[in-house]
């Protein structure tokens, strides 16, 4: 159990820079989820922390100890791999004991810890089996068991659930979370699945092409995405992004043929071009006869996705920009239907078109 600090990590493979100055501090006992699209450098970051890859620049500190020059085995971490990487020639018991044995741990201690881990993970019956005699879920548990018997300073997970079926994935997600909480071990969990990220992480680190876009709690990342990239990556269906211009007095923004009220005034920003983000679930129809019908977005529905609990309607604004909105599943929506919509000011996200960064009150 320890704090893990990554500072200024740069990694290039030849000329290709895969990680560009990645810095993050993971508190003792915290679970950080690293989220990003395929190829953004998530695994590379994790492998640098594990010591399986050497950074081109930057430091990795585990428990206050600089580990840059230490072998993976000397870093006191445990890793769970996507394909589990169980030793095929060893039984489940031997797989779990291998790390401890190499550390010279006393036999009695090893036996006790393996028995404990097997009990926690429901592997007691399987201890004498070989990995090939196990199901995917069981292998996953053995991989977890191998990590926890070590009682390491930190757990590193590289998409450990992606080879499981949907149902098992939900269950293992829950188990991993519980286990990590219970043991209080610092964890770093790499995934490209946003549901996994939202549910597992104490905090999320969103990585895009080797650059940290945002590090925050899942709710905060959802509620206040720091950039257009994060806005588009978190949430399903993705956030609508429209072109807009700040109006004269800085209290409203004109986009898609509507004037939308801002949560915070932006005085002196009149005429500034912005990108306006609105989540599909935050678009509420304005009842006919409401005070200012001219303030809303007029959308004509083109096609509809029925998801059961919700219905997602995809349509176009008068100026041709696409817009999706989410409606409760019990209110039927048909193609050709027209909606007059407005978001609550608090649910409007403004981004700088050039940098893609969020525009906040008092911050540019």
């Amino acid at each position: 159990m320890a704090e893990v600090v990554v500072s200024g990590i740069v990694k290039s493979f030849g000329k290709v820079a895969v990680l560009k100055e990645v810095s993050v501090a993971i508190a003792d006992g915290e679970m950080l989820v690293v989220l990003g699209p395929s190829g953004c450098g998530k695994s590379t970051l994790l492998r640098i922390i594990a010591g399986l890859e050497t950074a081109s620049a930057g430091d990795v500190m585990i428990g206050g100890r600089r580990v840059n020059d230490l072998e993976p085995a000397e870093r006191d971490i445990a890793m769970v791999f996507q394909n589990y990487a169980l030793y095929p020639h060893m039984t489940v018991r031997q797989n779990m004991a291998y790390g401890l044995k190499n550390l010279g741990t006393a036999k009695a201690v090893i036996e006790k810890r393996v028995a404990e881990a097997a009990q926690i993970l429901g592997l007691a019956e399987l201890l004498d089996r070989k990995p090939r005699q196990l199901s995917g879920g069981q292998r996953q548990r053995v991989a977890m068991g191998r990590a926890i018997v070590r009682e390491p300073e930190a757990f590193l997970f590289d998409e450990p659930l992606s080879n499981l079926d949907a149902k098992l994935r939900v269950q293992m997600r829950h188990e991993i979370k519980q286990l990590q909480r219970r043991l209080g071990t610092t964890g770093i969990f790499v995934t490209h699945d946003q549901v996994e990220a939202m549910t597992l992480g104490d905090r999320l680190l969103v990585l895009n092409q080797g650059v940290v876009e945002q590090v925050d709690t899942p709710i905060e990342v959802y509620a206040r995405p720091a950039s257009l990239f994060v806005a588009g990556f978190i949430g399903s269906p993705a956030m609508n992004v429209l072109d807009g211009t700040i109006d004269g007095d800085g209290t409203t923004v004109t986009c898609g043929g509507a004037r939308l009220r801002l949560e915070h005034e932006l005085p002196g920003e009149a005429g500034r071009e912005v990108r306006v983000g609105i989540r599909p679930e935050h678009l509420a129809p304005i009842a006919a006869g409401a005070p200012s019908p001219d303030a809303g977005l007029d959308v004509e529905v083109e096609w509809v996705e029925l998801l059961g609990a919700d219905t997602v309607a995809h349509g176009r604004l008068a100026d041709g920009q696409a817009l999706a909105l989410r409606r409760p599943g019990d209110r039927p929506v048909a193609a050709g239907e027209r909606f007059h919509l407005t978001p609550a000011p608090a649910h409007l996200h403004l981004f700088d078109p050039a940098t893609g960064r969020r525009i906040d009150k008092g911050r540019r």
């Binding site: 594990a50 399986l52 993976p72 085995a73 394909n83 030793y87 291998y98």
Partner: protein, 294 residues
């Protein structure tokens, strides 16, 4: 999916097999049958009379001190060749597996000896170890070892083992390297996290995972040492000094073509035939049951 080819004509499969069957019959079955027949005959020294003696040749063989000696020599030689060839190849493969860059160059360089004919390999090593002009013999002299394989039986044995193993190293190397590269990278990485020492890692993870390859190679190398090393022995020691390197396959030749004891020579080749059949059966049974990992 049906992987077998289904023939519509009844005679077509036989016709397609015929060339291979003919070759097998003419070059393998027929000589083997002849050897079997001859192994039960005794011929006088001038080749004028022939007698059928049932298994007398075999009884004589296994009571013969020289033949038993040759079996021992063969055992030492083949184990020596297999061990040396495998250990060196494993070492080279482990190093090549580490070096990602330049691995192709290593592979190419290391495969060359396999293309060298046994007799040439023998001559090459003979030259290096030549007591009067060989460079290795000269180095050995420098560290106080008096090298003369023409006198010392042990040194002669060592020399033929080295020459024979050298040729086989490349073959073993390729198999070991392929075996190592077939081990998933994440396994090696998991081991790197679980175990600090590279040596220990090798012996607890990599080597056990290579065991199917190793077993296969042991059989192949023993077969090689038994049967394909005639050229090396013939070029380097001719079975000498004092029978010290007279392995079974060479003794077949020397007894038959030099000693002109055709009956005994044929019996010896039948014994060798039995050995190669046994090894092949062992190999095939093993390959069928090949351990499935994953």
């Amino acid at each position: 999916m049906e992987k077998r080819v289904v023939f519509r004509h009844r005679w077509l499969p036989y016709a397609l097999l015929a060339p291979q069957l003919a070759i097998t019959l003419v070059f393998f079955i027929w000589p083997a049958a002849q050897a079997l027949w001859q192994s039960m005959l005794v011929q006088d020294a001038f080749g004028l009379s022939v007698r059928f003696v049932w298994f007398d040749n075999f009884t004589y063989l296994f009571g013969n001190r020289e033949y038993l000696h040759s079996i021992r020599v063969t055992a030492v030689f083949s184990l020596g060749v297999a061990l040396l060839g495998l250990v060196v190849a494993l070492l080279l493969a482990a190093m090549a597996d580490h070096a990602i860059r330049g691995a192709v160059v290593y592979k190419t360089l290391l495969i060359w000896p396999y293309a060298v004919a046994p007799a040439i390999a023998g001559v090459l090593w003979l030259f290096l170890f030549n007591p009067s002009v060989g460079i290795v013999a000269w180095w050995l002299q420098g560290i106080g070892i008096d090298w003369n394989h023409k006198i010392s039986g042990n040194q002669a044995m060592l020399l033929v083992i080295i020459a024979a193993a050298w040729k086989q190293v490349s073959y073993n190397f390729l198999f070991f390297l392929a075996g190592m590269q077939a081990i998933p990278r994440s396994l090696i990485e998991a081991a790197a996290i679980d175990c600090a020492g590279p040596g220990k890692r090798f012996f607890t993870i990599v080597f056990p995972l290579l065991s199917p390859t190793t077993f296969f190679l042991i059989v192949v190398n023993i077969v090689y040492a038994f049967f394909d090393t005639f050229g090396i022995i013939h070029a380097v020691t001719r079975g000498g000094p004092a029978q010290a390197t007279n392995i079974m396959v060479y003794k077949v030749f020397s007894d038959g073509f030099i000693g002109l004891n055709l009956g005994s020579s044929a019996a010896q080749s039948v014994v060798l035939m039995a050995i190669v059949v046994t090894l092949t059966v062992v190999q095939f049974r093993f390959v069928e049951r090949r351990v499935q990992y994953g």
